[in-house]
């Protein structure tokens, strides 16, 4: 069971979108935007409130890549691996981040809950390739060196 405040927040979001199935995705998007992940208890709660069965809600939430049942770090770094970025060696950017953060293909979030690392197929900023985003803020023309500086800078903000 989550704290009551979670359910209150969910009620607030549900009220905004209405109790109909077509509102399911916008509702869980807003919940995720607020908590930076989708608590599975809330997904069940939303399903109940919308009158759809839990399995259905679960099938929708797991289908889309954006939904995460795991809590994410404070800084969500998304490395673009679209064609333009790939051709301009985005793989080196990703490797450097794995190294800097001690993460891997299987481990996405650092233990101190500061960083989550994801890849994304295209951010549509191809003219600035290779790019990455930190919580939706675009960082253009990255190099492995700039990656190290960026991480050091973000860590510095914590100190």
């Amino acid at each position: 069971m989550l704290e009551q405040s979670y359910y209150d927040k969910a009620d607030e979001i549900i009220a905004e979108h209405g109790r109909i199935q077509k509102a399911l995705i916008p509702i869980i998007q807003d919940i995720q935007a607020y908590y930076r992940y989708l608590p599975s208890e809330l997904l069940s709660y939303v399903a109940l409130q919308l009158g759809i069965n839990e399995a259905k809600a679960y099938s929708v939430a797991t289908f889309y890549e954006n939904f995460s049942f795991e809590a994410k770090g404070k800084y969500v770094i998304r490395v673009c691996d679209g064609t333009a970025c790939h051709v301009r060696k985005s793989s080196l950017i990703l490797e450097r981040l794995y190294k800097e953060l001690g993460l891997s293909k299987e481990k996405h979030t650092t233990d101190d809950m500061l960083f989550t690392l994801e890849t994304v197929s295209c951010l549509g900023a191809c003219g600035l390739a290779p790019v990455l985003t930190v919580n939706d803020e675009v960082h253009p023309s990255m190099t492995p060196e700039k990656v190290s500086e960026l991480i050091a800078g973000l860590r510095g903000e914590q100190a």
């Binding site: 109909i20 199935q21 077509k22 509102a23 399911l24 995705i25 916008p26 998007q29 099938s59 929708v60 289908f63 889309y64 890549e65 954006n66 939904f67 691996d81 679209g82 064609t83 333009a84 790939h86 051709v87 301009r88 994304v120 197929s121 295209c122 951010l123 549509g124 900023a125 191809c126 003219g127 600035l128 390739a129 790019v131 939706d136 803020e137 675009v138 960082h139 253009p140």
Partner: protein, 623 residues
């Protein structure tokens, strides 16, 4: 103010035009995703601050002071040169502007009308003060993107001043829905999202359905990696797209429209929301639009990260709150689309074409482009080309003109190898195809497709096998899993490609790839699956020798395929310090102190740790 009639809108337009005319100087700071990332927000604030602080200058119109307009515009398309600042009436375009440059821009240009030369674009020793004269722009025909970069995307008045919503007026007050459909049909406008299906035909089909509840849906789920034209339209000129949607709604008798935008485009979503709100407040959207009696509303749905939702039936399923999976057809979307009602589904760029066709007529439209593919097409030009960015050219423009005239040729003077067109659904065009006219039909003949219009230029340093693996990896990841050919087939194809780039492929693998590719193309359920094998089949056709080199010689001449790189120690440069051996995670390096070390190629895992750590630069790679 709510506009209640056509006259109200016309008065409002006159006022909007006057407002812009009164600006003695108009500063447009690009606020597209690219330039914002480069810090254009700070430049905007700084310039605005300066305009406020100087005597004799005002941000508001007044007879005694010079009236300076400082605005944030949409994307100019020349993202690599950003942040961009355009200054009218001289049309100077400043590139790579920094906050420190604002003072000089203000003193020289705004106050004296002179250009700041060091911020101007230069190519082949020539400086181009005027934006329109820069080769990148001079060779383009910007119709759909006309307003992008020239107006404030968050101010509807600016769109109206540029002739916006004139087409809507004409449609609502001078034409019947049937006439509109006929005009679009006559224009032969073809869907810009990939398929190239006739837009007018779709509209006609929806209009004649017995079911009276109908929907207009805009596909803004631009998921193709390497394509961003729709993003730029939504961010830079959102009203143009809304206008197209309202006209479509009126033509087919729909009362509601949905825009499905991918979640990776937060700025596009923000600008669209502002545009819809403004249109509602001004009586352009809502009940009784401009007093015509026709009512139309538009909703925005955010995608949630599923590429397959760019497919029509998957997209409508997603709006309904379901898993975004395609379904078998028929029934087609025009018969049973969103909420099982007749639905017009077009993409962003297609809707952005509608207003100019209605305003200028189908005949005018046919003067642009080719017979079978009239109009223009926006392309996202990226990769190893000098000028990357968003361009718009008439259909039928050759690849050579795009890559060499507009794109300025290859970066670092590399050699042209291929262009990957249409993203993961497209194919590649090689140097023999440079003079092919780019339009729907000619590309189809070559086994490629325009797709959404991504053009990724590749030079001789790009390995085509690796590129094919990259696309297959993408499609495999995004396969929704509903049909077997796509779910299993792409997985097997990816395995084979991974085997090849790892140096473990065989000649039989190439035949198997072809066989699988053809089977998937023939049997997959939706467009994503049907085109999934295209990048592989197309590279196999054009670059078979490269595949053969990978499987027979175990060699990748570009050095892209890590597994085939050989790490070697140059005995002349090696001092025998043993640092490499200590850094090697698999113990593949051996030797005696103060004597040259050697790498055992069998044990080496090509991690590069030795090369990174050698203090004498004695380690190098062989492709």
């Amino acid at each position: 103010m709510k506009l209640e009639s056509r006259e109200d809108l016309q008065i409002s337009r006159k006022q909007a035009i006057n407002k812009i005319k009164k600006e003695d100087c108009r500063i447009l700071i690009c606020a597209g995703t690219g330039c914002l990332a480069g810090g254009s927000e700070k430049i905007y604030k700084k310039l605005k601050e300066m305009a406020e602080g100087i005597e004799g200058i005002s941000l508001e119109f007044g007879p005694e002071a010079a009236h300076i307009g400082v605005h944030q515009s949409g994307c100019h398309g020349f993202c690599e040169m950003g942040p961009l600042v355009r200054i009218e009436p001289w049309n100077y375009l400043y590139i790579k502007v920094k906050e420190e440059d604002c003072e000089e821009i203000f003193q020289k240009t705004v106050l004296k009308g002179q250009p700041v030369e060091r911020l101007l674009y230069e190519q082949d020793g020539r400086i181009y003060p005027e934006q329109e004269k820069i080769p990148f722009y001079a060779k383009q025909t910007r119709l759909v993107l006309k307003n992008c970069g020239h107006i404030n995307a968050e101010d509807m008045d600016e769109y109206i001043a540029m002739g916006g919503y004139e087409a809507l007026e004409k449609a609502l007050f001078e034409m019947s829905p049937v006439e509109i459909v006929e005009e679009i049909l006559k224009s032969n406008l073809r869907g810009r999202g990939g398929g190239g299906f006739q837009t007018g035909y779709k509209w006609k089909q929806v209009a004649r359905q017995p079911e009276k509840i109908r929907y207009v849906v805009c596909n803004g789920d631009e998921g193709d990696p390497g394509a961003f034209m729709d993003r730029s339209i939504m961010e830079g000129d959102p009203h143009k797209m809304l206008e197209g949607m309202i006209i479509a709604g009126y033509a087919v008798g729909a009362q509601e429209g949905y825009i499905y935008v991918r979640a990776e485009y937060p700025l596009a979503i923000k600008r669209l929301k502002i545009a819809i709100k403004e249109a509602e407040e001004n009586g352009i959207l809502g009940d009784n639009i401009l007093g015509s009696g026709y009512g139309f509303r538009i909703h925005i749905n955010r995608g949630a990260g599923a590429f397959v939702c760019g497919e029509g039936s998957a997209l409508t399923a997603s709006i309904e709150g379901e898993r975004g999976m395609p379904r078998t057809k028929p029934p087609r979307t025009v018969e049973q689309g969103l909420f099982a009602k007749p639905t017009v589904l077009n993409n962003v760029e297609t809707y952005a074409n509608v207003s100019m066709i209605i305003k200028n007529g189908a005949e005018w439209y046919h003067e642009i482009g080719t017979e079978g593919s009239p109009g223009t097409k926006a392309f996202a030009l990226t990769g190893s080309v000098k000028n990357t960015g968003l361009i718009e050219v008439p259909m039928g423009t050759t690849l050579r003109e795009i890559v060499f005239d507009i794109g300025g040729g290859l970066k670092n003077d590399g050699e042209f190898k291929a262009v990957q067109i249409g993203g993961p659904s497209g194919g590649c065009l090689v140097s023999n195809n440079l003079d092919v006219k780019l339009d729907f039909d000619s590309l189809k003949k070559l086994g490629a497709m325009i797709g959404s219009g991504g053009l990724v230029v590749m030079d001789d340093g790009t390995c085509m096998v690796e590129v094919a693996r990259f696309f297959m990896n993408f499609t495999q990841n995004e396969s929704c899993g509903k049909c077997v050919p796509c779910r299993e087939g792409t997985k097997r194809m990816l395995e084979i490609l991974e085997r090849i780039v790892a140096g473990n492929g065989s000649l039989e693998d190439l035949d198997l790839l072809e066989e699988l590719g053809e089977a998937i193309t023939a049997t997959a359920l939706c467009g994503l699956g049907k085109s999934a094998a295209l990048p592989v089949l197309s590279t196999l056709k054009n670059f078979r020798e490269e595949y053969v080199e990978h499987v027979v010689d175990k060699r990748c001449k570009t050095g892209n395929c890590q597994a085939m790189i050989k790490y070697v120690i140059n005995p002349a440069a090696c001092k025998g310090c043993s640092k490499c051996a200590r850094n090697c995670p698999v113990g593949a390096i051996s030797g005696k102190i103060k004597e040259p070390y050697v790498i055992d190629g069998e044990k080496c895992i090509k991690c590069g740790a030795c090369l990174d750590n050698c203090p004498f630069g004695a380690i190098y790679t062989e492709n």
